[in-house]
């Protein structure tokens, strides 16, 4: 690639990872980008780096603008290795005068075994540095999504460099929101929120309020992954407001795994019940869908219905996987139910219920257990459960 001007004297100098398909357990079926930004001013400043294998692309982009040795400052908004992985290479080459990071960023870099004698300069929320004509204001965003995370805001350019917030995993050679399909862009952003940020929704609400109170004038949001919000920054801010309030639609997700199709037949009957109540429903087999795809559908679903057969006195491992993952991401205020077939002991439904209760979901039913294969009456009961949940969704 080549550097892309995003504002006067500010360039995207990151890298595109077209081939990554598993991002620490998040399915990135269309790859991602690692965005880094170079600010040309009296103090030349690099904001974040890229994942280690892409350091050549980063440096090549910088070289097309300036000799990297001329970089004065490095700003580290986030220490996760997809952004900080090339810092040591960059520092060796650039020998920056200062490395700006949050207090937690400093701690995290040391814990990642970065040299202690780097010229770290710890900054706090509201603190401003001058680069010459431009200034940078820092906003700590602890736990969005690591303790070290922070934003860098450039008031003269009305530019918010937002680290991992407002980003999405999508490899494109377009750099701006208005160059791609908006619906697809929002779908990738929703997936990112559901799988990375959902559990910190109360903090997102607080951050949005704080940003409003600080009166930041923002006309561009440049995240560390995916597209830069040039034409529609308000669209992603409004979406984050909606998602962090955990607003749901009249929608259900039926998640299941099955051994000999008995639990699957039950799942289909539940979906039929929901469909008869005109509830938008997604049937998601754990064999066909990655956990991060399921979580994306959970983001705006009011009802979450989980089915598993019993194997060796336990729920199926795939169901334990999605429930562990979902519980960590903390969806709240959902209607839920469990179902499943069994041969002799039938523990799965009770185990699923335990997870659903731990997540403080409202159980619509004690669960439906079916011995070996569902009879016509069993399937009717499943259909009725679907209808009942459908009515409960509509009442809310």
């Amino acid at each position: 690639m080549f550097p892309v001007a995003i504002k006067e004297n500010i360039y995207w100098v990151g890298a595109i990872d077209w081939n990554i398909r598993d991002f620490h357990g998040y399915s990135t079926y269309k790859g991602t980008t690692y965005n880094a930004y170079l600010i040309l001013d009296e103090k030349i400043t690099l904001v974040d780096t890229v994942k280690y294998p892409f350091r050549g692309e980063l440096l090549n982009n910088i070289r097309q603008l300036i000799d990297p040795a001329k970089i004065d400052y490095l700003i580290v908004n986030h220490v996760e290795m997809d952004h900080a992985g090339s810092i040591q290479e960059v520092v060796n080459l650039v020998k920056p005068e200062k490395i700006f990071c949050s207090a937690m960023g400093h701690k995290t870099m040391l814990a990642y075994n970065f040299p202690a004698d780097y010229p770290y300069e710890v900054v706090k929320t509201g603190q401003t540095i001058s680069l010459g004509k431009k200034t940078v204001q820092f906003i700590e965003t602890r736990m969005l999504h690591w303790p070290d995370s922070m934003f860098s805001y450039l008031p003269q350019d009305k530019l918010l460099i937002s680290s991992d917030a407002f980003g999405e995993h999508w490899a494109t050679n377009e750099r701006f929101d208005d160059q791609v399909d908006m619906a697809e862009l929002m779908a990738h952003a929703a997936k990112y929120y559901a799988n990375i940020l959902l559990l910190y929704s109360p903090l997102v609400q607080k951050l949005l309020a704080d940003v409003q109170q600080m009166g930041l004038d923002i006309d561009m949001i440049a995240p560390d992954h995916g597209l830069i919000w040039r034409s529609n920054p308000q669209a992603i801010i409004q979406a984050y407001d909606r998602w962090s309030r955990q607003e749901t639609a009249q929608k259900a997700v039926v998640i299941y795994d099955t051994m000999w199709h008995s639990t699957e037949k039950m799942a289909h009957a539940i979906v039929e019940g929901l469909t008869r109540e005109n509830i938008s429903t997604r049937l998601m087999s754990l064999k066909a869908n990655h956990r991060s795809e399921i979580m994306t559908e959970v983001l705006d679903a009011k009802a979450i219905i989980c089915g598993s057969s019993t194997l060796n006195n336990n729920m199926l491992p795939t169901m334990a996987d999605i429930l562990t993952y979902m519980k960590g991401l903390k969806p709240v205020d959902r209607i839920a139910a469990a179902f499943g077939s069994y041969g002799w002991s039938g523990e799965a439904v009770g185990q699923i219920n335990q997870y659903l209760e731990e997540m403080k979901f409202t159980l619509a039913s004690p669960g439906i257990k079916v011995l070996y294969g569902p009879s016509a009456a069993d399937l009717q009961q499943c259909l009725e459960l679907g209808r009942q949940i459908g009515r409960q969704i509509k009442e809310q």
Binding site: M104, E140, M143, P147, L203
Partner: protein
């Protein structure tokens, strides 16, 4: 009663408010929180808190 700050994420435990979501009633001093209590924001353990 003293407030305590999570050294990981900055969450402030205010004894006056307690942590009702996790069954800690208002008025519970930090010292009386069970050892199994964790930061409601980031999950850090009690020993990672410092007096404000």
């Amino acid at each position: 009663m003293k407030k305590y700050v999570c050294s990981v994420c900055g969450f402030v435990y205010d004894p006056a408010k307690g942590d009702p979501e996790n069954n800690i009633p208002p008025g519970t001093p930090f010292e009386n929180l069970p050892d199994t209590w964790v930061c409601p924001v980031c999950g850090a353990s009690k020993d990672q808190f410092e007096a404000e």
